[in-house]
Amino acid sequence: MDKKKIFILLGVFWLVVIGGFIGYKEYTLRTGQEVLLKTTPVDPRDLFRGDYVVLRYDISNLNSPSVIFERNDFKSGEKVYIGLNTKGKYAVATGVYSQPPSDGLFIKGTLKDVSSTRVGVEYGIESYFVPEGKGREIERRLGRNVDVKVAVDSSGNAVIKSLLIDGQEVRFK
């Protein structure tokens, strides 16, 4: 194959990778159901790291029996699906499953700290990027009510839409 063909093919390949990556996230943002997640208080020393805010949610740590555990032999690193009840202001976890639940909204996550009655779950939405230096500003407002608006698609993928402090979307200028 001559170099010109290779050049064009590889350029197209890059466009596909970049476009696919954007498309995958845009699909979740545009088709996903919007839910509000309550963030749990985080030690301020841990919250701001570099140019992003570390987020922890109420649904990041789940306890049995308040949340149904489909099995009691879950392992760290395992992919799980968390059933969500969205009737109230905030989405709350209802169960931990190894397969997508047949009905209702669910969010996909990875188990990180497992015991027989408690699991920690990471959803891939634990970082919120802020402009350089603005993390401190958020840190100062920490004592207040911090929520995160998230889009969750039909496969359980989640993307952060916005960060809310006292119900107001945070916007940076």
Binding site: K3, K4, I6, F7, L9, L10, G11, F13, W14, V17, I18, F21, I22, K25, L29, G50, D51, Y52, K75, S76, G77, T110, L111, K112, D113, E122, G124, I125, E126, S127, Y128, F129, V130, P131, E132, K134, V159, I160, F172, K173
Partner: protein, 403 residues
């Protein structure tokens, strides 16, 4: 091709193989060739450094997370500069063919900017900062360029990303204090991944045009394996702890770590056996190289699955590192490969230095410890440098004759 040295030309002249006129011509051509080579190296060095600086600048620009621009504009800037560098690289190297070295550096810059674009998009969608997936996408994105353009610098970048990805993948979703077993076993995972990379490099010798890439992979494999072995010579990583307790956690490894380790070990063994049987690199020291690869994987498996109640593994890995150093020196000498000789000499010095600290720190008075240590370093350094120069001169003159 390599330059012919003056001594060789004088010898041919004395023997009557060539005339004085031919000798003058050869000497002039040889000098010209050396100048050209030196200039080429300078161009490559300057343009590569320039590309790396531009790449770092672009990545830092992304990292500064400039807020005033809309997302679309940010993407257009980075995608535009990525494809701009890529196109300019292609234009200079293949279309116009007037600046091939600069062109290669610009294609390499494109590969760096592609990574910056991936990280920018991740930042826009608030994807977790330490996600292994991002490094994997970068790696997958640049891998076809290694083969499409037989690019050695991109092969080096791919090897580096592969190692970074391993580290991030192992700890995905794990906090440090819950993943201590994985942390302590990390060097042994990197050891087998180094052996695996060495095997992958050997396979690339099957293609004539990928020889440069094959060498990059093999050197990357040797380097990471040596670093890992060095860590394993310390009791901290390979020793026995009778009452280990840190946050009351055990030293068990996670299932994802064990799976990755076993998978890499199987692949490393498979490739070492293939190399042993078919010798794709046509190496004169193939049996030794493949046997060492198999032996290292075997030692890693032994250490991973059979816990000792003594510090036997510390001793074992020290012996293995010393053995590998001599294998490197031997293979480097046999193949007249200065880079391998240098690697061997570097690790020989490192091993002597740390073991000197280990054994004599408590035994000698401090003043004597530092004086003897300093003397060993100075004399050792002189001896190693002298030997290195002798070998380099020997290899150069042999390669000149063989051309």
């Amino acid at each position: 091709m390599s330059a012919i040295n003056k001594e060789q030309i004088d010898q041919w002249l004395r023997e009557g193989t060539i005339t004085q006129e031919q000798a003058n011509k050869m000497l002039a051509d040889s000098t010209e060739y050396r100048k050209e080579q030196s200039s080429n190296k300078l161009v490559v060095a300057i343009s590569t450094i320039g590309s790396i600086l531009l790449g770092i600048g672009a990545i830092l620009f992304v990292a500064s997370n400039w807020a005033v621009m809309p997302n679309l504009m940010k993407i257009l800037i980075l995608v535009g500069s990525t494809f701009g560098a890529y196109w300019a690289g292609y234009y200079f190297k293949y279309q116009r063919q007037n600046l091939p070295k600069v062109g290669a550096s610009l294609i390499f810059l494109g590969a760096l900017l592609f990574g910056a674009t991936v990280f920018l998009i991740a930042q826009m969608y608030n994807i977790n900062a330490n996600s292994h997936v991002l490094v994997l996408i970068w790696l997958i994105g640049i891998l076809p360029f290694v083969y499409g353009f037989s690019s050695s610098p991109i092969a080096g970048l791919a090897a580096l990303l592969f190692y970074i990805w391993i580290g991030l993948f192992v700890f995905k979703g794990l906090d440090f204090y819950r993943a201590q077993g994985d942390f302590f076993k990390l060097p042994v995972l990197y050891l087998v991944s180094g052996v695996l990379m060495f095997g992958i490099g050997a396979l690339h010798y099957l293609s004539e045009k990928l020889k440069g890439v094959a060498r990059v992979y093999r050197l990357a494999g040797i380097k990471i394996a040596m670093v890992s072995l060095f860590f394993l010579t310390f009791r901290f990583f390979s020793g026995f702890y009778e009452h280990y307790s840190f946050f009351s956690r055990s030293l068990e490894t996670s299932s994802q770590f064990t799976f990755g380790f076993v998978l890499f070990s199987i692949l490393a063994i498979l490739l070492a056996v293939i190399a042993l049987m078919f010798n794709p690199s046509k190496s004169s020291t193939n049996i030794l190289e493949s046997s060492v690869a198999l032996g290292l994987t075997g030692a890693a498996l032994l250490f991973f699955f059979f816990h000792a109640t003594t510090n036997i593994y510390v001793l074992l890995f020290n012996l293995i590192l010393a053995g590998i150093v001599f294998v490197l020196l031997f293979v480097g000498y046999q193949r007249e490969d200065m880079q391998i000789v240098n690697t061997g000499m570097f690790w020989l010095s490192a091993l002597i230095l740390v073991r000197y600290f280990d054994f004599f720190w408590d035994l000698l008075p401090r003043s004597l410890f530092f004086m003897v240590g300093g003397l060993i370093l100075v004399l050792g350094g002189i001896a190693l440098e002298r030997k290195r120069r002798q070998l380099k001169a020997k290899f150069t003159s042999v390669s000149a004759v063989s051309q």
